[in-house]
Symmetry: C2
Subunit: 323 residues, 2 copies
């Protein structure tokens, strides 16, 4: 597994994954399946067990995706010392805690110890590259590569340059994630939460409102979504959907006929719930009823979801090509 | 096509479709394919041409769904007079203009002229059954059956009883739409916009914000959605997604670790755009760039979307069973 011929990845032989949590392990699994050697840098004493157990859990999904999994962990190693870990790598994907001070410290070390050609990316979901790079000597090298969980399965990677990130690094990041089989989307501006999590937050706020108002249960709301907007948005995003639903005049006609009604009637009526004790108790109780409560239930439901996800990606012709 | 053996539809021989617009034609196509005779009641002089052209456009999609389309229009007839149209039918699906006074007038006529056993449903997306039924002698008979456009393709039908709708009618409506191959969801309370359109409005508001702020273009935003949350929500709704993404503690753990951050950080930061001239001009321009501007483009894109939709439903095992 240590040599690869995946187009676009010829110059990537070795990757450092900083932080071996859920996101880090998922990236590691994908990098390994794509033929890169991977060194994990994480100070936890039990990190090797955690990562190997995580890889075992992910391997069947990689196989379903058509990626090679024999000897998946052959190229895997561990190095707690950050500077040692990133020496000699071609790409660094950092998945540390979402704390600015920690990330700034990590990246000051990494930029000094990593080779000058290495692509430097952070998985952060909430901290702009501009802020993280403030303490760096070469802030133009750092870029956000924010995956949608789990990175080995969901196609999207939000590529978010900081104010000082160089255009070359933007293109390098886009090409790297594309070669990995992902669908990178470069954002034009930094904004808190980036795009996907903001959209998710907007929809989820109304979900919490509708359940807390007793209009539907969690399970019923989920079924509404999978039977309508989810199914739609898997094949056509919101703008395309409304463009095609607006009649012969497309989106402008939609805005005139329905969008203005939405602005006047629905937007002001949307809920503003909060996670107070009553709401959390209700959400917890309904989650128990809908999904069970054991860790086994979660593993089983997650596996079923991932199988359905892959069937859907296959139907849409979106499974990644095997190396 | 005038006799049917579709399980659950044995007692439905004849349907009245009131209003032959886009929604009415789509319902008519589905009812006909399921073996019902359909009478369209619409005062427009050119209604017959409109409906027949519409049916021709829908037939290939029905065939893709595995439904019979030979002689699809054999059971189709037209009757502008409302009372005459609904005499002798087993179900009425009303798709008139979204105006309370018009709907009240329609339903006062229909309840007097339709047989006592007929199921009485309105496709309204915005007017509660309670309000429409105010002028009816038997308000317990009326129920909302709100489809997600287009009804012949998207599974969801929101079944929304009014305050006085009888439990028997709720069950009758649920069984009817299920037998048609749809996925009805009965709401527990009337609320403006029901569930799917409220969720859609919540997400779309943030879409308009992000595009108007220049974070992404319409096309880029659509690609973010199809590559992440759309793909996810086609197989697992928002609550299930967060339950499975929350770690071993499920949704309660998600709320503690990420939900509270969402409430504190993202919910207050979501945008409040409006369809002012600048925004509409930008949305129009970007729609033109992304989707073209002719009606032909829309037909072509809609057909491609519907094919993808069906491929996806097949992958999920959700295409309706043929009669």
């Amino acid at each position: 597994m240590s040599s690869t011929s995946t187009p676009g990845l010829e110059s990537y032989r070795r990757a450092a994954i900083i932080g071996g949590g859920v996101i880090g392990v998922s990236w590691a699994a994908l990098f390994l399946a794509r033929g890169l050697d991977v060194v994990i840098s994480d100070p936890r004493p039990d990190i090797e067990d955690l990562v190997r157990t995580g890889l075992d859990g992910i391997a069947p999904t990689l196989a379903e995706l058509g990626l090679p999994t024999d000897g998946l962990a052959d190229g895997l190693s561990f190095e707690a010392d950050l500077a040692t870990a990133v020496a000699g790598v071609d790409v660094v994907q950092e998945n540390g805690p979402e704390r600015l001070d920690l990330k700034q410290r990590i990246w000051r070390t990494v930029e000094q110890a990593a080779p000058a050609h290495a692509l430097l990316t952070t998985s952060t979901s909430s901290i702009p590259a501009t802020a993280i790079a403030e303490g760096m000597a070469q802030p133009e090298r750092l870029i956000v590569g924010h995956p949608f969980n789990p990175p080995h399965l969901v196609p999207l990677v939000e590529v978010v340059p900081g104010e000082r990130t160089s255009p070359e690094v933007v293109e390098q990041a886009r090409a790297f994630y594309t070669a990995l089989g992902k669908q990178p989307q470069v954002l034009r501006k930094e904004i808190p939460g980036f795009v996907a999590n903001r959209l998710q937050a907007a929809l989820f706020r109304e979900c919490v409102h509708l359940v807390s108002q007793g209009v539907v249960t969690e399970q019923e709301l989920d079924e509404v979504v999978t039977a309508s907007i989810g199914l739609r948005w898997a094949v056509a995003g919101p703008f395309r959907t409304f463009h095609l639903g607006g009649g012969p005049g497309g989106l402008p006609q939609f805005i005139e006929h329905l969008g203005r009604g939405m602005e006047a009637g629905l937007w002001p009526a949307l809920g503003s719930p909060s996670f107070d004790d009553t709401t959390v108790a209700l959400l917890t109780e309904e989650a128990r009823e809908a999904f069970g409560e054991g860790e086994d239930d979660i593993d089983r439901l997650a596996a079923a979801r991932d199988r359905a996800q892959i069937a859907l990606m296959r139907a849409l012709g979106e499974t990644p090509q095997a190396a």
